[in-house]
Amino acid sequence: MPLSLEEVERIATLARLELSAEEKTRYRQQLSAILDYIRKLQELDTTDIAPTSSAPGGDSSLRADEPRPGLSRADLFRNAPETEQEQFKIPPVFE
């Protein structure tokens, strides 16, 4: 049950990945093989089994919601590809 080229393109769009025609062909074949293997899970009956989302307990504890010092603006912007007046700069979104 291989993925269609359209499915590969749909997934790439959802994941915001620009792929070349060659990549689409290659990933289609590779992902289809991986998915075939993964479908092995369908053979198990898990009707009454609860899902595990984390291990060991997954009971995240919550901290008190108190203000505390964080990173400075200078530190935050230092790694940005493009900034202007301490803001992240992107191309215009609206005309």
Partner: protein, 499 residues
């Protein structure tokens, strides 16, 4: 002289520094010289911090003399840090072009705790891109070579750290383990590597891959060395809500008592220790010498007083498909943050959407793109229940296998990987074959239990054979004690590659 310094284990280096026999500057410089000599053939490092390391070494030497560093168990010890753990001021690429030039303004908790204990981050080690891989061949900055045979992979994804320790470039290093990424390279390079219990070591500052699986661990020459680093890194951290408030076993860390730590903290013998050998881990396809090495090591443990039982972990064969749904699903969400806007590199475009598509499409490597797509597919409308939902339920079955096994035994002994280090390029165009390399390490991550890999022999080609011990949640000390006892009566862990 320098060779002798770099041959020291972590514990030996600590003693030599404390006694004043050597200085941190001498040790750090010896490490840097050895790195410089071997990097061209190994490529274990992505960044070196020679200057700041030497400055910290001088400060450590000063504190050693004045006594200001009395309470710091790692004072003046150089360590290497896998390039997925943030160290303030040092580049952090996670082996990816998308993070090229990124210099984090903060330090990962695991690293910070070691630094507060006196350790010096000497450099960042190579890794498969975003820790996705089993060989370091997926690093965007060139692969690492195995110190035992340069034509073979060091394992992955913490291959740089394992190779650096094996090659005596550093006495110890940090790695991370999402599906075997500390244990498998430890086995391939003949070093000792601990994957702690999930939630035992903070993930703050760890570049996220699979958040319900990721954990930072330590690699060194001996179980004692790894135990010391672990006991310092571990414990509750307010910056990672999944860390648990469970007491961390302490080896006596302070001052002169270090010398007797081996006799008190991790003392053999193993009388009464129940070891389970799971039949599902000795299947067709496993290299004969790997099986023989593990079985031989189990009988050594038996000779030290342990009882050996055959056990079953019946859902083992499903760990691989479960992992390759859950980890890509989590990765696809975690890696959505790399958008070319806030940090990392950008490919400029006329429209904002095109910045996303192009930056991600061109800066992520093939394995990362495959896993993002796999995860996106498994979480997408219409497929969620069949893939992600089913995988989470089977994860419960795998966890239960361990719970049931640990009613009968204290420790599970198994191979780390089906083979010793494989040749470079062996799985180049077959991702599924590469995934199968992790078949014995993934279950511990899915169940969240700790695993410790250590060398138990060599195969006919002279490559290290590793064994792993797995234990109950938060029982790392049981694994470390067993491995320590083994290392008292064997010397595989002290063998060094000729480089």
């Amino acid at each position: 002289m320098n060779l002798e310094l770099t041959d020291l284990t972590l514990m030996q280096a600590i003693e030599a520094l404390r006694s004043g026999e050597i200085s941190s500057r001498e040790l750090t410089r010896a490490c840097l010289e050895r790195i410089e000599k071997l990097e061209p053939s190994l490529h274990a490092f992505l960044h070196l911090a020679a200057e700041s390391a030497l400055a910290q070494a001088d400060e450590a030497d000063r504190q050693q003399v004045t006594g200001d560093g009395q309470h710091k168990p790692l004072l003046g010890i150089p360590i290497a840090v896998k390039d997925v753990l943030a160290v303030e001021g040092l580049p952090c690429t996670a082996g990816s072009k998308i993070l090229e030039g990124f210099v984090p303004p903060f330090t990962a908790t695991a690293v910070k705790r070691l630094q507060e204990a006196g350790a010096i981050a000497i450099g960042k080690t190579n890794t498969d891109e975003f820790a996705m891989g089993s060989s370091t061949e997926n690093s965007a900055y060139g692969m690492t070579h195995n110190p035992w045979d340069l034509t073979r992979v060091p394992g992955g994804s913490s291959g740089g750290s394992a190779a650096a320790v094996a090659a005596r470039m550093v006495p110890a290093a940090l790695g991370t383990d999402t599906g075997g990424s500390v244990r498998q390279p430890a086995a391939f390079c003949g070093v000792t590597g601990l994957k702690p219990t999930y939630g035992r070591v903070s993930r703050y500052g760890l570049v996220a891959y699979g958040s319900s699986l990721d954990v930072a661990g330590a690699l060194g020459h001996t179980a004692e060395d790894v135990a010391l680093l672990f006991s310092i890194m571990a414990g509750r951290d307010a910056l990672d809500a999944t860390t648990q408030d469970v007491a961390v076993p302490t080896i006596d860390l302070v001052g002169a008592t270090l010398a007797v730590a081996s006799g008190r903290g991790l003392a053999p013998p193993l009388h009464g220790l129940r070891i389970g050998v799971p039949r599902e881990y000795f299947v067709r396809g496993i290299q004969v010498e790997v099986e023989a090495g593990v079985r031989q090591a189990v009988s050594v443990l038996e000779g030290l007083g342990a009882e050996v039982h055959e056990i079953s972990l019946p859902h083992s064969e499903y760990a691989l498909p479960v992992y390759y749904i859950i980890s890509p699903a989590e990765a696809s969400a975690n890696l959505a943050r790399y958008d070319g806007i806030r940090y990392g590199s950008r490919i400029q475009a006329e429209a904002m959407w095109d910045i996303f598509y192009r930056t991600r499409g061109r800066k992520f490597g093939a394995e990362v793109e495959r896993r993002i797509m796999l995860g996106t597919y498994a979480l997408s409308a219409g497929y969620y229940d069949a893939y992600y939902g089913q995988a989470q339920k089977v994860r419960t079955l795998i966890k239960r296998d361990f719970e049931q096994a640990f009613e009968r035994v204290d420790v599970i002994a198994a191979p780390v990987a089906p083979t010793t280090a494989f040749p470079i390029g062996a799985h180049r165009d077959d991702p599924l074959a590469m995934y199968l390399e992790d078949v014995f390490t993934l279950p511990a991550n899915l169940a969240g239990v700790p695993g410790l890999a250590f060398p138990v022999g060599f195969d006919g080609a002279g490559l290290p054979v590793g064994m792993q011990l797995m234990g109950q949640h938060f029982h790392e000390d049981v694994l470390l004690r067993a491995a320590h006892a083994y290392q008292q009566v064997t010397d595989w862990h002290m063998r060094a590659p000729s480089l």
